[in-house]
């Protein structure tokens, strides 16, 4: 039995390859994701182990406000130099060095632009001399307050050299320095994982990076010989007290790597999400292939039953075939995944400024994931056809048992039920009724919706396919092709459903992003009465900022009526984290942003006062007169009093404070400004003058409102492109499915095709017939996809109404492109099967048994 199965499998290699390919692609994503995250994870480990190799014990003050990897770099609280002395006095300490190290030292390159970072921090600190890790390659250490040394990677990226005079942005606006030295790292590295470093003299670093003269925010301790790191850590911790975090170098590097790995986990999930889509489509494909195989082997299976095979053995034989395909496909998928993972890791390290990659290894998770997913999916998909195979009566070996059109009642009812479950889950998830499992509920809803619609598809296929085929009804081969595609509604349905999944997801996401884009621009156009905006494009976790002096200088330009500079950061209000904005011109609330007062005064703010949105007031139980303790990224807790409540609006944040609050923000400079002109003043007159003021703030630029909208929504376009590329894979798998179905159908109809040729159908007409069949199936799949995708997208947009996505935009052009693309896909998918059909030997086919 076992042998019979394997032999039959090997006899059909093409079938094996086609249905296996879908699994290969899905498994490739899964294992690739694990290989990538494993490789990068170990690279981070060794990176930080290197970076902190000379640190025996490290002392830092507890942060005022802990931030995670997605919110930006942790701001380390400064402490007085006396702490360094305290540590130095601890027995067992050989040396204690106070250091300054903080994110936000942005060097202006020779092209006048800030050297960008796409993730790694831009560190500024004090130069404490060379060591095993850090070595000067050129020049000398900084001695004067306007001298700096920078790492080689940064010098190359900014195209600057020793002796150049360059601008650096820090907590303070642009200041100019002379580069007196360039340093590298042990192992001939130009940067550590793409981190840019600017090293000042200690007083300059304290002033510019911490904003507090004489303060440090880190102490590097070396142990005296014979003292263990752990015991020294405990001794130092006892000496400095509870306000400080004391770690050994090993702990420090492990914690730092863990932070970055959290980011990797997120990335990993995204890749796994796409793998899931690919595998869902693959499941349809395998299900269909096995159904057709079982149908074609009816006689063979009946014979096995007649000579004594039990129903269980038949199921076993089909499942065994699935296991074989699953195993082989998983193996190939794993190999491809390792390749893809290595390639992505290489690209990532290059993007991160040439991080040294740990060797590519294959983690157990990749192997388990690959084989687990590959096998489970294949076997699961083959289960239904296997059960159907077991129901073939042995008598079918002796006579052509007519397989009557099974009624679609059952499958339609099942489809309706599953679709309803999906709809309910979506309603719960999108409506926010799912408790803590919103994402899982929404994803479950989408999955159920897909499966449900796939089950309903056979019913829908009849009229739709007839309508689609009507186009070809004047042409005999076209008519035959159309009739063929309507012949087995289940087969057509599953093939089309596979294509539906990819197209539905792309359509849905396009609907959501287009609606978001249009809503955002609508919001800005309707609510922001500012002719000019100062803002910059954000490339990393740190938003661009500019010199606050520009605000007053802009206000002095003739024709400018009002300028509102905006600051922003996360803060702790009471015990809840929230986004806090600070504004230089509270009057802009009504005059520029169209805010509606609900209670109190929203036109002015004094120190210690704040206004909040009506939603924030409701959810936190605050009203005018309430006082709240606020902890910012810097400084001690402060008490703020609510003096005004405004109607919630998507363009206004939940909490707005006066500008002086921003000195305790992690970024103490404004990140945006809105400029309103006097009636009659011309944009063309004012804009160049503001531009001139921004010469020393190269991170931002001034633009009119439309250009600002364009810039803000442009990021959504690149997101959309990225998602479309990844989902294209699901569509590729669906195309494989169409090829597979057609190829098997051609095989199945050899006799019939021979007959048609015998009575005079030309080769070209045969090919035309097959092509029409393919086009009808793929266009049907695309139609379904566009319909389901529009539904899903519209549901999400509806759910986001309160977040300000209030316009539903249907991308008609895109949808038309998808349908056209589907027709093209059909033609392409038909090529090989059509050639095969056209080559059928007429005589052989009629005699074919």
């Amino acid at each position: 039995m076992f042998r019979a199965t394997l032999k039959s499998l090997l006899a059909r290699k093409v079938r094996l390859v086609l249905s296996g390919l879908a699994v290969v692609l899905g498994v490739m994503f899964v294992s690739g994701a694990f290989v990538l995250t494993d490789t990068l994870g170990r690279s981070f480990d060794s990176l930080f182990a290197d970076a902190y190799a000379e640190v025996d014990v490290n002392v830092a003050a507890k942060p005022k406000l802990a931030v995670n990897e997605f919110e930006g770099e942790q701001l380390q609280t400064p402490f007085p130099a006396s702490v360094v002395d305290t540590v130095r006095a601890v027995p067992g300490v050989a040396e204690a060095t106070g250091t300054v190290v903080a994110d936000g030292a942005r060097l202006i390159g020779s092209n006048g632009k800030v050297v960008a970072s796409f993730g790694p921090p831009q560190l500024g600190g004090n130069w404490v001399g060379e060591g095993d890790l850090v070595q000067l390659r050129e020049g000398r250490e900084p001695r004067a307050d306007d001298e700096i040394v920078i790492n080689k990677g940064l010098a190359d990226a900014g195209r600057v050299a020793v002796g150049d005079r360059v601008g650096v942005l820090t907590l303070a606006p642009r200041k100019d320095f002379t580069i007196v030295g360039i340093f590298g790292y042990s192992g001939d590295r130009d940067s550590l994982g793409g981190v840019n470093e600017v090293m000042f003299t200690t007083p300059t670093a304290q002033q510019l990076m911490l904003g507090e003269p004489g303060a440090f925010n880190n102490i590097v301790v070396t142990a005296a010989s014979g003292v263990s790191d752990e015991s020294l850590r405990d001794a130092v911790a006892a000496a400095v007290g509870d306000d400080y975090v004391v770690k050994t170098g090993e702990q420090l590097s492990a914690d730092a790597a863990a932070g970055l790995k959290e980011g990797l986990t997120f990335f990993n999930r995204i890749l796994l999400g796409f793998a899931a889509v690919a595998l869902l489509v693959g499941t349809f494909l395998i299900l269909n292939t096995f159904s057709i195989i079982v149908a074609q082997r009816t006689r063979e299976l009946a014979l096995l039953r007649a000579v004594g095979a039990s129903a269980r053995q038949i199921i076993g034989s089909v499942v065994l075939e699935a296991i074989a395909i699953g195993l082989i496909a998983s193996l190939f998928g794993l190999a491809a995944g390792i390749g893809i993972g290595a390639l992505l890791a290489y690209l990532f390290s290059n993007l991160a400024g040439g991080m040294a990659l740990a060797g590519i290894a294959v983690p157990a998770s990749a192997v388990i994931g690959a084989f687990g997913v590959g096998l489970v999916i294949t076997v699961l998909a083959a289960l239904l056809p296997a059960l159907r195979a077991a129901r073939i009566p042995p008598i079918a070996a002796m006579q052509d048992v007519a397989t009557p059109d099974r009624p679609l009642t059952k499958i339609t009812i099942a489809g309706a039920v599953v679709t309803s479950v999906g709809a309910v889950l979506l309603f719960l998830g999108l409506g926010g009724h799912a408790g803590g499992n919103t994402l899982a509920t929404i994803l479950g809803g989408v999955l159920f919706a897909f499966i449900g619609v796939a089950l309903l598809t056979p019913l829908i296929s009849k009229p739709v396919v007839a309508a689609l085929g009507a186009v070809f009804s004047g042409w005999v081969p076209g008519k035959l092709g159309r009739l063929n595609s309507g012949r087995n509604p289940r087969r057509t349905a599953i093939t089309a459903a596979a294509l539906m999944v990819g197209i539905a997801l792309v359509t849905g996401i396009t609907v959501i992003l287009d609606s978001a884009k249009s809503s955002i621009s609508g919001l800005v156009q309707d609510n922001v009465r500012a002719e000019l905006v100062i803002a910059g494009a954000q490339s990393g976790p740190r938003p661009p900022s500019f010199d606050p002096a520009v605000l007053d200088q802009t206000k002095a330009i003739p024709g400018v009526r009002l300028v509102d500079g905006q600051y922003g950061d996360i803060a702790l209000l009471g015990d809840q984290r929230t986004w806090v904005g600070a504004v230089t011109e509270p009057a802009a609330m009504r005059q520029v942003y169209g805010a509606t007062p609900v209670a109190g005064d929203i036109d002015r703010l004094a120190a210690g006062q704040m206004m909040i949105s009506s939603d924030a007031a409701e959810s936190r139980g605050l009203s005018v007169g309430s006082t709240v303790p606020v902890q910012f990224a810097r400084g001690e807790p402060q008490t703020y009093t609510v003096t005004g409540v405004y109607e919630s609006s998507p363009i206004l944040g939940p909490v707005i404070m006066p500008a002086d609050a921003a000195r305790n923000f992690s970024i103490t400079q404004p990140i945006q400004a809105f400029i309103q002109l006097e009636p009659g003043a011309r944009v063309a007159d004012v804009l160049p003058r503001v531009e001139a003021l921004l010469a020393n703030s190269p991170e931002v630029s001034v633009a009119d409102r439309d250009a600002f909208i364009e810039e803000q929504t442009g990021q959504l376009d690149s997101l959309l492109t990225m998602i479309q590329i990844l989902l294209a894979l699901a569509i590729v798998i669906a195309v494989l499915g169409i090829i597979n179905t057609l190829a098997l159908s051609v095989l199945e109809r050899t006799r019939e095709l021979g007959l048609l040729r015998a009575i005079g159908l030309r080769r070209s007409q045969t090919m035309g017939m097959i092509t029409v069949e393919a086009v009808v199936i793929s266009v049907f799949g695309a139609l379904l996809g566009v319909a389901v995708g529009t539904g899903l997208g519209a549901a999400v947009v509806e759910a986001l109404r309160e977040e300000g996505i209030n316009k539903l935009v249907l991308p008609w052009g895109q949808m038309g492109i998808f349908l056209g693309l589907a027709a093209l896909i059909g033609v392409i998918a038909a090529v090989l099967p059509a050639i095969r059909a056209a080559r059928i030997n007429v005589l052989g086919a009629i005699a074919h048994d």
Binding site: L10, G308, S310
Partner: protein
């Protein structure tokens, strides 16, 4: 009408008052109307009748491939009627062998693998001595490693016969075994079947409409219109043809 010969103790298969009705209402077709028949152990019985006489249906019912509407079927000591799928599978494994008109070999397996297929499905080892005898009798020793496509029709049918024989079933049911063969290959297969009855005591029930083929049997049972109408012991092609002609008087065809 009942056809009985020999002692009941040596009956290999028995049908008792078997009725088979297809469809219902207007479309109702009576394929078998109260057929009772016994097939003795170690004999070669042919079932004959014109198209639609119900001969194939009777065989399907005897072999447990089809259910009966009324009456009972026995194979050896086993009552087939009322068996579930597991019981029927066991019956096909242990008691029944088939030879089909279309040969029905698995195209991907060699002749030898096809012959041993029923045993390997049942997870049993062939009796080497018996296997040798079977291979010798069908005369395929030099063709064992060929695939069906590389064999002639007659050779394929001999492989199918060997497949049925090798498990030593209680009864072999042959459904028009020579229907797809030329007369020479057909004669080979029929000789071979007769020899396996005479020399090895195999029981064979064969459905055919070819008088020459029926002449190889020890006994012929004639069906018409779903009923047994006549039988011949030790038939010759001529006696069979005569009986058939008598039956050929236009009768209402059941199916």
């Amino acid at each position: 009408m009942t056809a009985t010969t020999g002692e009941p103790a040596s009956v290999a298969a028995r049908a008792s008052d078997v009725w088979k009705v297809y469809g219902s209402g207007e479309a109702q077709v009576m394929a078998l109307r109260g057929v009772s028949a016994e097939f003795e152990r170690g004999r070669f019985t042919a079932i004959m009748g014109p198209s639609g006489s119900g001969k194939s249906t009777l065989m399907h019912c005897l072999a447990g491939l089809d259910t009966v509407t009324r009456g009972t079927v026995q194979v050896g000591e086993t009552t087939v009627t009322g068996l579930g799928d597991a019981g029927l599978t066991k019956l096909r494994r242990d008691k029944v062998g088939f030879i089909f008109q279309q040969f029905n070999l698995l195209p991907t397996l060699t002749a030898k693998e096809n012959i041993l297929l029923p045993l390997s499905i049942a997870g049993r080892k062939p009796d080497p001595a018996w296997y040798d005898v079977v291979i010798e009798t069908v005369g395929l020793r030099d063709r064992l490693d060929h695939r069906p496509a590389q064999l002639s029709g007659g050779q394929q049918q001999r492989v199918a016969c060997a497949r049925a024989l090798v498990a030593r079933p209680e009864v072999i049911f042959a459904d028009e075994p020579t229907g797809n063969l030329d007369s020479r290959s057909g004669a080979e297969v029929l000789n071979f079947l007769r020899n396996s009855v005479r020399e090895h005591g195999q029981t064979i029930v064969m459905v055919t409409h070819d008088p020459t083929a029926a002449a190889y049997a020890d006994r012929v049972v004639f069906l018409a219109d779903g009923q047994i109408v006549s039988e011949l012991i030790e038939p010759t092609a001529d006696t069979v043809l005569d009986t058939m002609k008598k039956l050929d008087t236009p009768a209402e065809v059941a199916r």
